[in-house]
């Protein structure tokens, strides 16, 4: 019954990965320019919109898209649903890569990255009122935790194929992991609970600049709930893509059950979102101006996958599942973009649209992420193997 994870194998360099490598290369050149010339010369960031594409996409949306490891871990370890075990490793890999890329984006986005190391070490100077400090510390810690959670995939391989020293290291590493697993996994659930909600709290400091349809003390709860839904959606999305590309079993039945959990979380999100706005007397703003249209577009993107998956029988149909998950991801991304950029209005004199450099670097960061994903699943036991015949979708 248990699908053992196996490396996919095959050459890492092919036409597609070479193309990705080219995109990464362009980013490297652009980033050299960014560090030599400063942010003004290379980005569209300005004093009114100090947070731009790199923060909204790579960090805020990117870490939510990297919540697969978190969302599956909740089901697997807290709700004790052992059947989801084949999903955890690929989910952890996308999470580890997503969070690493977010950390990288922060390094290129901040003006003085050479001082970042001071944030974790200057404990006495910590401003505990700063939501961003909480996010920064949690994200730094969580990147480490994710790679540790994923470590058995690498250690297993080295144990089998490594020579002398590497094999002994792998064996002792696996033994350590077996003992410390509870504490590591708990940390892997605690940290995202903290910082995914705080990513919402961050924008509360925008105060009057954040539109009233988005500015609510429940932002942290909404960010937390939606990131869990996005976590499930990304697992379904990734299964679809890696199933098609690598011909791996898709676990449709399992994903259908997972989407049931997603439906519950999605419904919770919409109930909180609407109840909050209605109870705070902001109903009128829902039918007011251009922001109202944006709000409804966002809500529709959340509601459509909910409707698509509300019927248990339709959840068994993989294409429906895949489409609903994709819409769900769009919804979560849009909600984050709105909160950080579109519904943030510093005054009429300011405008922001990302520069070509910002866009190309973002493309490069995503390319690197995909490239590393392909390389790792081809060499290390991440995806469930073909132990059983692939299920029919």
């Amino acid at each position: 019954m248990i699908h053992r994870a196996e490396p996919v194998g095959g050459p890492i360099i092919n036409r597609f990965t070479s193309f990705l490598l080219g995109l990464v290369g362009i980013s490297v050149i652009l980033l050299i320019w960014r560090f030599a010339a400063g942010l003004g010369a290379t980005t569209a960031l300005n004093d009114g919109y100090p947070f731009g594409l790199w923060i909204a996409f790579e960090v805020v949306a990117g870490t939510a898209l990297a919540c697969g490891g978190y969302a599956v871990a909740i089901l697997l370890y807290v709700f004790n649903k052992g059947e989801y075990h084949p999903l955890i490793r690929p989910a952890l890999l996308t999470s580890a890569l997503g969070y690493s890329m977010a950390a990288f984006a922060i390094i290129i986005d901040v003006g003085r990255p050479w001082f970042i190391y001071r944030i974790p070490i200057r404990v006495g100077q910590w401003n505990l009122n700063s939501p961003l400090l909480e996010v920064a510390l949690c994200v730094m810690a969580y990147v480490g935790v994710l790679w540790i959670e994923l470590a058995p995939a690498f250690l297993e391989k080295w144990k089998e194929t490594g020579s002398g020293g590497l094999r002994r290291f792998a064996e002792s590493g696996l033994r350590f992991f077996d003992k410390a697993m509870i504490w590591i996994v708990s940390l892997g659930i605690l940290l995202p609970t903290m910082h995914q909600s705080s990513l919402g709290t961050v924008m509360l400091l925008g105060g009057p600049k954040l539109h009233k349809l988005w500015n609510t003390p429940l932002i942290p709860l909404l960010f937390l709930v939606s990131c869990i839904a996005m976590g499930y959606a990304v697992v379904i999305f990734e299964s679809g893509v890696s199933g098609a590309v690598f011909g791996r079993p898709r676990h449709t039945a399992m994903l259908a059950k997972l989407s049931g959990a997603m439906v519950v979380v999605l419904a919770l999100f919409l109930v909180i979102r609407f109840a909050d706005l209605i109870l705070r007397g902001r109903l009128g703003l829902m039918f007011h101006d251009w922001y109202s249209v944006l709000f409804w577009a966002e809500m529709a993107l959340f509601a459509v996958p909910l409707v698509m998956l509300s019927n248990a029988r339709r959840r068994q149909h993989f294409p429906t599942l895949f489409k609903a998950a994709s819409l769900m991801l769009f919804a979560g991304i849009l909600y984050r973009f709105d909160t950080y950029l579109v519904a943030f209005n510093p005054g009429r004199q300011w405008t922001y649209f990302p520069s070509l450099v910002e866009i190309l670097v973002s493309v490069g960061v995503v390319s690197l992420e995909i490239l590393l994903y392909i390389a790792i699943v081809k060499r290390y036991p991440i995806l469930a193997g073909r132990a059983t015949a692939p299920e029919k979708a």
């Binding site: 400063g38 003006g111 001082f115 200057r122 910590w126 401003n127 400090l133 996994v185 708990s186 925008g206």
Partner: protein, 293 residues
């Protein structure tokens, strides 16, 4: 096992409820108070003639270069607003027959959004309640810019080693026993320097002495939790470029109430961690029993 899934869920629900109820329950003591040594400035829009002497003096006192946009053929210092080279600006607001100059610089809030935002305290209220920036603690994240309702902190976007640029009330001059450069040079006494208490009293005295001349409000007395730079004017303040919908609460208050309401110091995360570990331990043990049986 005393700790089970239900306890955990209950914990999560209570946490969520605390997040929801936070602002109402965990509300802080009234409005922030000025530090005992607080100094500030009072700007009287009825006196200002827009000569911009203060803008030039600010440049000299703070070693900032003039800004000569192309349309001035490189001849005049004409900054469009506060920016990475300009910590103090005079702007004209005109609507029909009504017009007024207004001076903008850091408001030195009693409970500043930027200070609330700053991760390791690069921006802090230091001596005299003046909000100053310490290079050594800044990573250039620009969260202060998001958090400032007055759009004051500016970032050196032109630089590969950028700093935050903002009015620090000429603290270097104050420590030498002088006043801020803008106050010293103003030929009309439109901007004056003093202790916070004295300035607040003077603002009210002027309004009471000539009620026809002024709008009946001292801007900054309560706005955004109160500021150490105060304004009196003959035109409504919303026409002078002050933020709309700011209210009397400090911008950081809601975020603090939510964050501390949920975290309760660091108790909530610690408890959650322990509960998670307990649940996972129990689940794992029962799974092990099933396998061995």
């Amino acid at each position: 096992m005393s700790v089970d899934r239900r306890t955990l869920l209950k914990g999560l629900v209570v946490g969520g409820a605390a997040a929801a109820a936070g602002p109402a329950e965990a509300s802080e003591a009234r409005r922030p108070e000025a530090p005992p040594d607080a100094v500030g400035m009072l700007y009287d829009a009825t006196l200002c003639i827009g000569c911009k002497t203060c803008v030039v003096a600010c440049r000299e006192a703070n070693g900032l270069p003039p800004e000569t946009p192309e349309w001035t053929e490189g001849l005049w210092d004409a900054p469009p607003g506060l920016d990475e080279y300009t910590k103090n600006i005079i702007q004209l607001y005109r609507e029909g027959d009504e017009q007024s100059y207004v001076k903008h610089q850091c408001m030195h809030c009693l409970d500043p959004g930027c200070v609330n935002a700053c991760m390791i305290g690069a921006l802090q209220k230091r001596d005299f309640g003046i909000v100053t920036w310490e290079s050594d603690r800044c990573i250039g994240c620009r969260y202060c810019q998001v958090a400032c309702p007055f759009e004051v902190p500016k970032f050196e976007f032109h630089s590969a080693n950028p700093k935050i640029v903002k009015c620090e009330l000429c603290i270097h001059r104050i420590k030498e026993g002088k006043q801020p450069a803008c106050c010293e040079v103003c030929p009309r006494g439109a901007i004056i320097y003093g202790t916070y208490d004295m300035l607040l009293e003077e603002a009210h005295r002027r309004i009471e002495a000539s009620p026809d001349r002024y709008i009946q409000k001292v801007y900054g007395e309560t706005d955004g939790g109160g500021t150490q730079v105060l304004y009196i004017s003959h035109v409504p303040f919303e026409k002078l470029g002050f933020p709309q919908g700011l209210g009397d609460e400090p911008v950081g208050k809601m975020a603090r109430d939510v964050q501390h309401g949920v975290y309760k110091g660091f108790i909530a995360p610690t408890v959650l961690y322990a509960v998670l570990a307990g649940v996972i331990w129990r689940n794992r043990r029962s799974a092990g029993e099933e396998e061995s049986s």
